[in-house]
């Protein structure tokens, strides 16, 4: 039993009993969480930007950084682990914003839109989400229970 800690732009998955898949302090970034109850697998990608066209080299070096390159990589990994990618449960967290009535710099919102569009192209959609608003989120998921627990400084932990 161990912790799989994912930094910005990382993706990973585990099906070892007792493992915790975790990512810290999502601001405008989005964690895409994929659960396969059949094999008790948990996958996650910590996406920072919507579209890899902004920097192709970065996308090669770290595909998890972008929604359009990160999600396909995670799906590929989970499928190679024996998950049925057609039956994955999807949950989303993150995509926060600074308070701004003018919505000037809305990376959080653009990340969420890009993630949802990509999932939709794969015939997938989230069953639960905690997205937007203006607080940072830490996400941890246990392979035993598949429970997605969120926390944020100054708030009691909650589940989605």
């Amino acid at each position: 039993m161990s912790n799989l800690i994912l930094g910005v732009g990382d993706f990973g998955a585990s099906n070892s009993p007792g493992d915790i898949v975790k990512t810290f302090a999502l601001g405008s970034c989005v964690a895409v969480i994929l659960l396969d109850p059949g094999t008790r697998s948990v996958g996650m990608v910590h996406v920072a930007l919507p579209d890899s066209s902004i920097n192709r080299d970065k996308a090669k070096e770290r595909p998890g950084y972008f929604a359009d390159t990160g999600i396909p990589m995670l799906l590929k990994q989970m499928s190679s682990m024996g998950c049925n990618v057609r039956k994955l449960t999807v949950k989303l967290a993150g995509g926060a914003q600074i308070m701004d009535p003018n919505n000037t710099f809305n990376i959080g919102k653009r990340n969420i839109l890009a993630v949802k569009k990509l999932l939709w192209q794969h015939g997938m959609g989230p069953v639960a989400e905690d997205i937007g608003a203006n607080y940072s989120r830490t996400v941890s998921v246990s392979t035993n229970t598949g429970e997605v627990v969120l926390s944020s400084p100054g708030r009691p932990p909650w589940k989605i």
């Binding site: 926060a96 710099f105 400084p153 100054g154």
Partner: protein, 293 residues
């Protein structure tokens, strides 16, 4: 609100805060002057043995991966850039402030320093991208110092994070800054400004610290610099590098476009740039702190 305390108690704590070393304060003065030379910076570093040793440790740290050891201060400074040298000088004399765990914001030890470094990198990049008449390295130093008031205010805020967030959610306070004022009679920007005056920091840095959450109120002369740090702060928070409960609990002033010629696309690139630079710089600065090379 759980408590109200007199701001004079907070101000008393500023008097007890550490002083800047004379080399740090001279470095800040000189680098705020757009006409200064790298030689002047080197001359100050050479008079300070502790600073000299730290600068050499950082430049020779594993993070930079130099093939041969650098032993000359002039070469070390031109390699590191003066912004890092100034950052090291501030950290040597004020590390007790930067390394505090900020319990009032429910942040961990090191979170403030890491946030400041991210803001510094972002602010400098914004200053570099926006063709403005300002010293880009001053934006870096401004980023390092902008939230210094939190290190003093934090202990007075212990145990308040949850109720502060509720007041903001209910709209009783506009942002975290206003909630701090409602409770303590003073906010972290103003506490930082008082400290900046005690340290006799150059005027532009005082302005950055005081107005980083409301840049439109800064003196016209320094407003573009203050806007650069305002945006740098937001980029750091969006990238997940905040200081705990106050992360993203502020407003963005979109009038920055009147002072900085920078596109949303460029701001997005800056988010990526911070991510890359931060890990490199953090590793080298920590290596230098540990004392080993």
């Amino acid at each position: 609100m759980p408590m109200t305390i007199d701001s004079s108690e907070v101000l008393k704590r500023i008097e007890d805060a550490p002083l800047l070393s004379s080399s740090a304060s001279r470095l800040l003065q000189i680098t705020a002057d757009p006409e200064h030379s790298l030689g002047e910076v080197a001359d100050i570093v050479k008079t300070d043995a502790a600073l000299t040793a730290r600068v050499l440790r950082v430049v020779n740290s594993a993070a930079f991966g130099l093939i041969s050891t650098i032993s000359s201060i002039d070469r070390a400074i031109s390699y590191l850039g003066e912004r890092l040298v100034v950052g090291i000088a501030i950290d040597i004399c004020a590390s007790q402030l930067f390394d505090k765990p900020l319990t009032g914001y429910e942040a961990q030890r090191g979170d403030l320093w890491r946030h400041d470094l991210r803001v510094a990198i972002a602010s400098r990049e914004i200053a570099r991208l926006a063709p403005q008449d300002m010293a880009v390295d001053l934006a870096f130093t401004g980023g390092i110092l902008h939230d210094i008031g939190k290190s003093i205010l934090s202990e007075f805020l212990t145990g308040t994070a949850q109720s502060v967030l509720e007041t903001i959610e209910k709209g009783e306070a506009q942002d975290y800054l206003e909630a701090e004022r409602a409770m303590l009679g003073i906010d972290h920007a103003m506490v930082g400004y008082e400290l900046a005056r005690k340290w006799q920091l150059p005027e532009p840095l005082q302005q950055v610290i005081r107005f980083h959450h409301k840049p439109s109120e800064a003196d016209e002369e320094h407003r573009s610099l203050v806007y650069a740090v305002h945006l740098g702060d937001i980029i750091a928070m969006m990238g997940g590098g905040g200081t705990g409960s106050d992360t993203l609990q502020y407003h963005m002033d979109s009038a920055y476009t009147d002072y900085l010629d920078i596109s949303v696309e460029q701001l997005t690139m800056t988010l990526l740039h911070v991510e890359e630079e931060f890990s490199k710089m953090e590793a080298s600065l920590l290596d230098g702190k540990d004392g080993g090379t």
